[in-house]
Assembly symmetry: C2
């Protein structure tokens, strides 16, 4: 049996981390956007072996247990203990790992969806397990609940799925430009001194957005958050300013990755493409994903 | 400006009403299914008049304020008091009103979505206002939050949007057969003696479903709920039994309407069609709607 799940990539625009010893009460406040590209997970389940085996591969390459702690956490919870057979979990990421696209949560949630579909479960229970794995192994705090919500999302109450509350902004005619330039460790940032500034600026951004809940306002607040926390500076800030000359809304930094994103109108895309081609930088233009994550039997 | 929203029809399979004087804490527990047909709402907004006018029409026919209390409640909240112009709200229902398809919530939610899109707001705030209008004017308790969730939904914690919690069941290859035969007043049922039986049987059904959360189990529990509460009996029960001969899962009663519904596999549909054609009964076969309600500018 082959099951496939799709979980959108999720970019955080600004956030406030909320730590809690109970994983379902840990989470984040903030806002972000879900993309039409993301993580595809294929679970192949074959019975009839003498033991219970679980294998994981990222982008076609098998990975060891300690390189895929989050996925193994999810699989261990969802593959029944008395299952005798081979479970292979193939995760394919449209964006590079560690660049701030929520791949870790996408892999966890996609794995939870495929295995729940195969062995029994529900959407919310799958999301619970993925969120818990993310929090415990510190992959992220708010990606799973944001991916469950879809669209341009605002986390208005922190917590895991079924505990936190996520709202959605209305939007019209936007695509998302992404410029992924490198990695930034969520774990290192959240362990650093910058957390105080993130908490302060994130709260201001959220309060302001809730008074005027529009995507255009979100981007202005995201940019202010990125600059005021000191996360966005130097060459990346220079690039953001160059992009802005071609856009009606400010670009901002992908939280947390070395990269930029922007909401772009159809007519603005050509000039941005020309600029980025000229600078020889990688980029992509994708749709905003407004559906739920998907799971179903894969017919090939 | 013309804005369009689509809200899926929602059939309740079984439920427990939860009353509360705060509308956002009122709601229901239970399970049901969202359909690919439902309510389309078009809001036409023209500025430049000397007064603030709101007009409502159901299926192309203008309705008076006291015939559309729920829609007017929503519109009064969302059209700014100082707006000078004409707001026309055109609601089109794919299923008849009062037959248990959540039309009242669909109209309220669709109206809230179009007006929020036009005048400012968010998905969750629109859902709040629609839920509140439903509860206050007693259109229903759980339809809005169920329509927000989509798919085959299980209301695991009662309350309005952002307060209640809704889960989703996984399913594969089902369409929904609906046999709408007549009206049943939600208000009259909820005011009657049957409420005690509904509360008792609804709780049993929910607890049992959560232990084995599959659509097939939901249908068995829905049927037991319908029969044990006494809501399903007589000719309608006879018809359900006839349908069952052609289906792998039991059919059940639409809560609350005089009608039946069933999850049907592709290969079962022809024999059910033949039966219903022979009996000269109205029916429809629709998809399960798994997306979010939609709203956007209408280009015609």
């Amino acid at each position: 049996m082959l099951i496939r799940a799709f979980v959108p990539a999720h970019i955080t625009a600004f956030f406030v981390p909320v730590f809690h010893y109970e994983p379902l009460k840990a989470g984040s406040l903030g806002a972000g956007v879900n993309l039409s590209k993301g993580t595809n997970v294929f679970a192949s389940i074959e019975t009839g072996a003498l033991e219970r085996h679980i294998h994981v591969a990222f982008n076609g390459e098998p990975v060891r247990k300690n390189e895929a702690k989050i996925t193994y956490h999810v699989a261990e919870k969802l593959v029944p203990e008395d299952f005798l057979g081979e479970v292979e979990i193939w995760q394919y990421f449209d964006f590079p790992n560690g660049y701030g696209f929520g791949n870790s949560a996408g892999g966890a949630f996609g794995t939870a969806l495929t295995l729940s579909y195969a062995f029994g479960g529900t959407l919310l229970r799958a999301a619970h397990i993925a969120h818990e794995a993310e929090v415990i192994h510190r992959g992220g705090l708010g990606d799973v609940i944001a991916q469950l919500a879809g669209g341009i999302e605002v986390r208005v109450k922190a917590g895991g799925p079924g505990v936190g509350v996520v709202d959605n902004l209305f939007f019209e005619g936007y695509k998302v430009l992404v410029v992924p330039l490198g990695r930034l460790s969520t774990r290192e940032v959240l362990d650093g001194d910058v957390v105080k500034a993130i908490e302060r600026e994130g709260k201001v951004a959220l309060e302001t957005l809730l008074k005027d809940p529009r995507p255009e306002r979100m981007m202005v607040l995201a940019r202010a958050f990125a600059e005021r926390t000191g996360l966005l500076g130097g060459e990346l800030l220079e690039l953001a300013r160059q992009l802005d000359k071609n856009l009606s809304n400010p670009s901002s930094m992908i939280m947390l990755g070395r990269g930029l994103f922007a909401l772009a109108r159809e007519k603005e895309i050509e000039s941005v493409r020309n600029l980025l081609d000229e600078l020889e930088l990688p980029y992509d233009v994708v749709e905003i994903y407004t559906d739920r994550p998907k799971v179903g039997r894969w017919m090939g």
